[in-house]
Amino acid sequence: DAGVTQSPTHLIKTRGQQVTLRCSPKSGHDTVSWYQQALGQGPQFIFQYYEEEERQRGNFPDRFSGHQFPNYSSELNVNALLLGDSALYLCASSPGSGANVLTFGAGSRLTVL
């Protein structure tokens, strides 16, 4: 079992650009949540996808959007990148939107210059 797979692992962008991050959930999991983690801080909830719809959203601007595909994989898109968007972006999957068991991927490290 590969667990949660995220790509790319590292990427560098410049201000104003757009980025797409990808996540494949653990086998048997149908819900994907995205988190933003600044260095040395706790993860901040961005949004959760279940049945291809955004179910819950944290306090992030509309520049942050996502999508879930029929195979449960997900994408996180960030438009008009700011320096402050530099962070580790974590994807977590779970067996259902109310499940307590979250399995995290290793994250995508985004640097905005």
């Binding site: 040395g40 706790g42 993860p43 909830f45 819950q56 974590l90 979250l102 290793a106």
Partner: protein, 111 residues
């Protein structure tokens, strides 16, 4: 303002010492979890507590959920260098709610 306040933020100790990390809130949680995260990795779940007053043990780690389900603690006995990492508490206000994390405690155990 953080929903979950962790303390201390940093902890540097010698191998063999004991330590306690605290996670506090003014809100009542339906469940609370503790995670450990190493550099370059995602958080890994250590324990979930759901009942007020609940105590769970995982080898040298003891987790307690407060009676009022507003706070929790993680106690490590005889810390080892392999315990080094970022410890995170996280809670749900409702069963189907989002998981909210504290800011984390960076633990360094020196040989």
């Amino acid at each position: 303002t953080q929903l979950l306040e962790q303390s201390p933020q940093f902890l540097s100790i010698q191998e063999g010492e004991n330590l306690t990390v605290y996670c506090n809130s003014s809100s009542v949680f339906s469940s609370l979890q503790w995670y450990r995260q190493e550099p370059g990795e995602g958080p890994v779940l250590l324990v979930t507590v759901v009942t007020g007053g609940e105590v769970k043990k995982l080898k040298r780690l003891t987790f307690q959920f407060g009676d009022a389900r507003k706070d929790s603690s993680l106690h490590i006995t005889a810390a080892q260098p392999g315990d080094t990492g970022l410890y995170l508490c996280a809670g749900k206000l409702a069963s189907y709610g989002k998981l909210t994390f504290g800011q984390g405690t960076i633990l360094t155990v020196h040989p």
